[in-house]
Amino acid sequence: MYSFLQLTTNEWLKLAKKRGFFIAFLIILLMPLGIAVVVKSFLEGTELGYVEFMQSVIDINGGGTLYLFLCMIYTASLVSGEHQLGTIKLLLIRPHSRSKILASKYAALLVFNIVLLLFALIVSFIICIVFFGMQGEGSMIDVWKTVLYTSVNTVMYTSIVFMLSVLTKSTGATIGIALCLVFVSDLAVLLLAKYEFAKYLLFFNLDLRMYEEGGVPLMKGMTLGFSITVLAAYLIAILATSFYVFKKRDVA
C-alpha cells in the first residue's frame, strides 16, 4: 500500500511539475469570477444564492463542461507522455508490476479530477459569498448531487481518455479523439434515440440528472439502476482493455 502511494505521488508530481499546471486552476478561478462580475455589474439587483451559483459552476451543462475538458487534457498524457518522452523505458524497469504502475497512473487521474473539482467548489463558494453574501435557498445536498452527476460524467470520459492514452501512445491523438467523442455524444443521442438498442450505449447513460425529480429519462425503460449497471460495465471494459494492452505490450 505504501509503495502504491509512492507510485501515485510520482505520477502526481509528473503532472504538477509541468510548467503550465496552474493554468487549469486559473481557468477554474476566472470562470466563476467572470460570471459574478458580469451578474453584479450588468444585471443589477439579481440575487444569486450560493447553492445555485456553485451548482452552475460545476454542472454538466454549465461550467462542468470546462472542468471536464481540463480533466481530459491534463490527464491525456499520463501514459502517452511516457512513450513520447521515452521515459517509459526507465519507468518499467523497476521492481513493480506493470499493472501496479498503470493503476497508480489511474489513481493520479482520479486525484486530479477530485482536486480540481474541490477547487472549483471552494472558489465558487468564496466568490459567491464575497459578491452576493450568504443567501439563497436550497441546501448543500443539492450541491453534492451535482458533484455526483458531474463526477460520474467526468470519470467516464477521463477513463476513455486514459484508455486512448494507453492505446494510441500519442497525447495529441488522445485529446483529438476524446474531444470528438464529447461533441459526437450529443449528436449520437439525437440521431439514435429512435432505436431500442441505443439505451445500452454509453452516451445515453452518462447524464444521470435525467432521473432527478421532474427529469425525463432519454428512453423508455431506463432507470437509475439500469444506467448505473451500464456505466459500470463500460468502465470495467475500458479499464480491462487499458490494463490488458499495457501489460502485454512490447515497449520499444
Binding site: S3, Q6, L85, K89, I93, R94, P95, D250
Partner: protein
C-alpha cells in the same frame, strides 16, 4: 557451485521473432561478477532488442533470461530489482530537475537513502547540476544522470546500450573511465553494447559478438587474455640460428602448426598451445639449436573480428 554464484546474468537460447523475422536467434551468453562484457555487433544486429528482452521491456519468443538466478519472465520484480539499465538514449522528465528525476526512481525502491543518492551523484560528477532542469543538460550529462539512476539501488549488473553514442571524444573517454571506476568501486558486472570494436576493446574484459541476431564469437580482451587456461592456441615467432633444422622438427607433429618461415630474419611462425610450445623449445635445445627470441604474434582484435564475422560487415 561457486561458478554459478558468480554468474550474474545468464541468457539461454533467447529468441525474438517479430512477424516472420527472427531478430534474435537462440542467443546464449553469461556475464559474471566483476566483468565488463561488451555486446558487439553492427547496427541492426539485435543488440537493443536483446537488452530489451533482458530487462523485460519486450517479451521473448522463447528462451530464458536469469538475473542472479531469477527469471525475468516468472519473477520479474525480484529479477529486475538487481538490474540497473539504460536502454538506448537516457530519457528523463526534462521539465524536472536532475534531483527530482532521481527522486522519482528513489520512491519506487524503498531501500534507497538520500545519502546513497548523493553518493552516486557524486560518483558521476553531477552534484552541481542537480538543481538544474534536465532540459538544460548536455548529452554527456544525461548519460551520467542515466548511470546515476541505474546505480542508485546498488544493482548486481549494470546494462548500458551504446553508452557513448553521440558523445564527443572527450565524453567517450570520460564515460569509459566512469565505467571502469564504477565496475571496481561497486564490484558489479557490466554489460555494454556497441557497434564499435575500438570502443569495446578499450572498455571491456570480454566481448560477445553477434550478427543478424546470432551468436558469432566470444573472446577475452587485453590483460584478461593472460588468465586463460593454456588451452587456447596462439601464434608465436621463434628466432633461431638454424632455421631449416628447426623447421624439420615440426614435421609430423599435430600440435605444432607451421605458419611461415622468414629466411632473412631466421624466424619461424608457428601456431600451438602452451605445453606444445614448451616441448618444442626443449626439443630445440636438445638438438643444440639456439633460440634467440620467442614472441607472441598478436593479431589485432580488428583482424580477428573480421574473421569472426566472416568479412567486412563491420566498421
Amino acid at each position: 557451485m561457486s561458478h554459478q554464484q558468480d554468474v550474474v546474468l545468464q541468457l539461454d537460447k533467447v529468441t525474438k521473432k517479430i512477424g516472420k523475422q527472427t531478430i534474435v536467434d537462440q542467443l546464449s551468453f553469461e556475464v559474471k561478477k566483476g566483468e565488463i562484457v561488451g555486446l558487439l555487433g553492427p547496427n541492426g544486429a539485435g543488440k537493443t532488442t536483446t537488452i530489451r528482452m533482458i530487462v523485460g521491456l519486450i517479451g521473448m519468443t522463447s528462451g530464458e533470461v536469469l538475473i542472479n538466478g531469477q527469471s525475468i519472465r516468472s519473477s520479474f520484480s525480484k529479477a529486475i530489482a538487481r538490474v540497473g539499465a539504460i536502454v538506448e538514449n537516457p530519457e528523463f522528465y526534462s521539465y524536472m530537475t536532475g534531483w527530482d528525476n532521481l527522486k522519482q526512481y528513489q520512491r519506487m525502491i524503498p531501500s534507497i537513502t538520500v545519502e546513497r543518492m548523493k553518493q552516486v551523484v557524486d560518483v558521476v560528477g553531477l552534484t552541481d547540476a542537480m538543481n538544474k532542469k534536465v532540459k538544460s543538460y548536455s548529452l554527456g550529462m544525461r548519460q551520467r544522470l542515466g548511470i546515476a539512476q541505474a546505480l542508485m539501488h546498488s544493482p548486481s549488473i549494470l546494462i548500458l546500450d551504446e553508452p557513448t553514442n553521440g558523445l564527443d571524444p572527450a565524453g567517450i573517454r570520460e564515460m569509459r573511465d566512469y565505467l571502469k571506476t564504477i565496475a571496481q568501486q561497486e564490484g558489479i558486472a557490466v554489460l555494454v553494447s556497441s557497434h564499435l570494436l575500438s570502443e569495446i576493446e578499450l572498455m571491456c574484459s570480454r566481448v560477445v559478438v553477434i550478427q543478424q541476431g546470432k551468436f558469432v564469437h566470444e573472446q577475452l580482451i587485453g590483460g584478461a587474455q593472460i588468465q586463460q587456461d593454456g588451452n587456447e592456441e596462439f601464434n608465436v615467432l621463434v628466432r633461431v640460428n638454424q632455421l631449416e633444422q628447426a623447421k624439420q622438427l615440426l614435421v609430423g607433429r599435430e600440435e605444432l602448426q607451421f605458419i611461415q618461415a622468414n629466411e632473412l630474419t631466421n624466424e619461424l611462425e608457428i601456431r600451438c598451445k602452451d605445453e606444445a610450445l614448451a616441448n618444442y623449445i626443449h626439443e630445440l635445445s636438445a638438438h643444440r639449436i639456439s633460440v634467440y627470441r620467442v614472441v607472441e604474434v598478436k593479431r589485432s582484435l580488428e583482424d580477428e573480428f573480421l574473421t569472426w564475422t566472416g568479412g567486412n560487415q563491420i566498421v
